[in-house]
Symmetry: C2
Subunit: 195 residues, 2 copies
DNA sequence: TCAATTGTTGACCCATGGGACAATTTTTAG
DNA sequence: CTAAAAATTGTCCCATGGGTCAACAATTGA
């Protein structure tokens, strides 16, 4: 029946604990002991389920990314028009549960490791590729073909920039301001949406 | 005469070494010994000139920021029109010597520490405030007053997003692509520049 | 029921790195 | 020229944290 059920539960708990500790402590401060304690377990158990620290945080990043992906998919499923698909992608990225300073801190810490951790780099690439593909499929119906790539890069970069700014807590950026900024961009860059 | 001349020279060497080590090793990997070695000195000397690791990297961030600021100022001094001022700000941020993956790595590592290092947070705030002020002073002549803030936030966020993307080396972003993206934004967002 | 598997713990090891410090050399100023 | 100040080094200390391991507990399935 349930193969390794406890094992899967434990692994999920630890991935989540890892991500949560990351939010407050950063990569260097996120020690195995803190993660274990945060999950209500002992340090030994962490290394029982994950080969090493890198692997643990790799899975933490995977899970956080999966949650974002699900949010996008769910909204995309409800979207009917290209315009709604575009809105779905953007609004998912700014959902309240994700667009939080502490969550951004964790992402920032992970991104900072990307240059030295090929596994994290791979995940990051997948994230960007999916975002690009989602955007292009919506933009294809709203813009001339030769403008889609530029607009897609503009949208992702803007999202990333706003996330970064939230993580740095510079200028008191709020969710509403970020969404307004995205709408401002679309209104000017994708004329088919205006009006 | 020269008060503590050697001291200033040494401090600059160490700040630069710190930033360079940061590019390759990240914050955790950038040990005092590596920084010292990179500067051709001993570990002891680092702690002779800087109270501790945080202070060293705080000064490294200050210096990197000062270089960027100088580049902006120099270009701004040559700019005659608001349009040229806008271009000056943007082009300085994408100068070849700055817009390098390794440089972005170092910035990313510093940004990731911002939430836990008030000193770094202060520097970051100054950077953003200066950028905003520079942009607003140029945009004031190109846009209706009630649109300036939005455009300024859009431009900085876009710049940050493109920098982040360069640091993550996702999608093979080049300097030219980044500049094209900025021009694309301005062309659509600031009609006074079109044509 | 009972072996085998799986989960869990805490103790231990050890490399690392930040930081203190005393000792030594070099520079500066009177 | 010389004493004070500054620069520099290498050594030492110690906390930390990643990772190993042996022992123990629980679960499972036959």
């Amino acid at each position: 029946m349930r193969l390794t059920r406890i094992s899967e539960i434990r692994r999920r708990e630890l991935r989540r604990a890892a991500f949560e500790v990351l939010q407050k402590e950063g990569m260097a401060g996120a020690t195995l002991e803190k993660v274990a304690m945060h999950a209500g377990a002992s340090k030994g158990i962490v290394l029982h389920y994950f080969a090493n620290k890198q692997e643990l945080f790799e899975h933490a990043m995977r899970e956080a990314n999966a949650a974002l992906k699900e949010a996008v998919v769910e909204r995309l499923n409800r979207a009917r028009t290209p315009r709604e698909r575009l809105e779905a992608i953007i609004e998912a990225n700014f959902e309240e549960r994700f667009f939080q300073p502490s969550v951004c801190h964790a992402w920032l810490s992970l991104c900072a490791e990307v240059p030295r951790e090929p596994q994290l780099a791979r995940i990051q690439k997948v994230i960007h590729a999916r975002m690009r593909s989602n955007l292009l499929s919506a933009l294809a119906h709203l813009l001339p073909e030769d403008e889609c790539e530029a607009a897609a890069l503009g949208i992702t970069s803007l999202i990333d920039g706003l996330w970064l700014r939230l993580g740095l807590q510079s200028g008191g950026l709020t969710r509403e301001m970020a969404l307004a900024q995205m709408r401002d961009y679309l209104a000017h860059r994708v004329p088919a949406l205006a009006g």
